[in-house]
Symmetry: C2
Amino acid sequence: MSAMSPPAEVPSMLPVAVDAMGGDRAPAEIVRGARQAAEELGIPVLLVGDPERMGDTGDLPVRPATEVIAMDEDPAQSVRRKKDSSLVRAAEAVRDGQASAMVSAGNTGAAMASALFRMGRLPGVARPAIATPIPVPGATPTVLLDAGANAECSATWLVQFAQMGSAFSRERYGLAEPRVGLLSIGEEETKGNSLVKETHALLAAGAAGPAVHFIGNVEGRDVMSDAVDVVVTDGFTGNVTLKALEGGLRFMVAAVLAALTGSPEVEAASAVILPALAPLAAELDPDTYGGAMLLGVDGVCIISHGSSSARAIVNAVRAARDAVEHDLVGQLRDAVTRIDQLG
Amino acid sequence: MSAMSPPAEVPSMLPVAVDAMGGDRAPAEIVRGARQAAEELGIPVLLVGDPERMGDTGDLPVRPATEVIAMDEDPAQSVRRKKDSSLVRAAEAVRDGQASAMVSAGNTGAAMASALFRMGRLPGVARPAIATPIPVPGATPTVLLDAGANAECSATWLVQFAQMGSAFSRERYGLAEPRVGLLSIGEEETKGNSLVKETHALLAAGAAGPAVHFIGNVEGRDVMSDAVDVVVTDGFTGNVTLKALEGGLRFMVAAVLAALTGSPEVEAASAVILPALAPLAAELDPDTYGGAMLLGVDGVCIISHGSSSARAIVNAVRAARDAVEHDLVGQLRDAVTRIDQLG
């Protein structure tokens, strides 16, 4: 089923569990976003966190959790120790059938570890990967994966990332045949490091199966373009690329705004210009995208960025709902080939 | 000697050898840029290429070379086979004491191979690296290396890149103590892939020596910022990062310009705004930076980007002249520790 077709009937959807304590602006902005999602979109939400610190939660149900995993804590260690943390309890709510999905703007590594330890992996998946949508104004976002879950990868993992990324792009953006590219330093198959060359050979030989439309190597400049729909890479390169783009765009926006305050004449003209740029700014705003999704775990886990506003949480809850309604996890389960059957 | 101090006396500087046949716009734009550099900056230039195809070379001396290495040819193979190519002859001119430096906008891999095979490596250098200045409007450029010479690297090579990048930043931008960062996916020393962790341990233990001011790991978002002066990474990650930034900025500029043609009112305001943005655009234009430098070979080799205009060539020739006058190669020779003495 593609995102273009009507969603499956979910007469009484389980709530989306929102980690109220995760993120730089938690809990106030997170709770505000959760309430907006429930009120404006009619999506059932379960808040997970410390009731004494959450403020006014309105009509939302609360799953109490006394502990909080800080943004800079060691992921695996904190998840093991803080069994009553909001992150761990949110993942447990999905595992135990009390929630259909989890959303967190907290410690990314800990969110991954919580989802992995509590929900478990999908059958055959070697490693979950973070799929991050990169905005491409005027076109569907490019899905970059792995954006940081695995600093070191093998070629067969990357083949699975191609399978999962392709299914994700198909379901989330309604693309019939997403173009899957392998991130490298030249288009020729001889270009790249040994991991990329090995992965290229597997993908070119069809190891990912007929559902994956492999278009070959792509370069850094293609990530933020309409030349490719899914960019496959290891989590080190993916994270560096993502953050370089974020930093470059933020820098550029700041430099443009600084240049527009030079003189009264320029400032007057800016007042006319800036509204015309607003749609572009909205398209580039990470809050628009509802966060990244952890692909390969047995449940929906949406990871929103650390500085998430209420609006980012609304969009993350919406993305979680869409993933549940389209049975994205089921699609991913079907998309993945077991490692020992690859290549 | 720093770039702030007066240059060494070079009473009769040897000419800068310019590969007239390399680049998407060769030979016309290249010859035009070479002539401008000679006429406007008084820098002696030697054109290398096919006299029959170069057009009007003015008063410039020409070193004839009958062959041309195309942009997409295999680097090592083409350099071995095309012994009378403009690229190989330019590198030979430096080796043979007929030129003080070489400049090419041609096939980057072939330029590297020509320089490496003809000039040789500096003593103790394991691998040359491409050092690319990343524009940071309002601050000195960040030097990114390796930007693509070595797809696979060892930790000791990266330590040498830190030494060479630091010396380059000091000499070219006059920074007394350039801040050297290691590109990773988190600031903590435990973050990154195994190459980065091993390199971090070496640099933190002072393996690069007292001349290198190591500030720890930096992230993708720091590359285009004033948080760091030299970013050390392997050539795969460096090339992907560089091209992602280039692509993101180009995309952003195109999207902004498209948004500014929406209505007559907006277009009128744009006419006021665009001149205010011109200095920023110039700072971000790669033609401004005179190209990348291949560090670690026994001679000055400046690699300008493939789409170089005459202006890019003028700036590349200027960068070559500065490198010669400040004896940058001598500084690099002194900066490098032999691999077997590292760590």
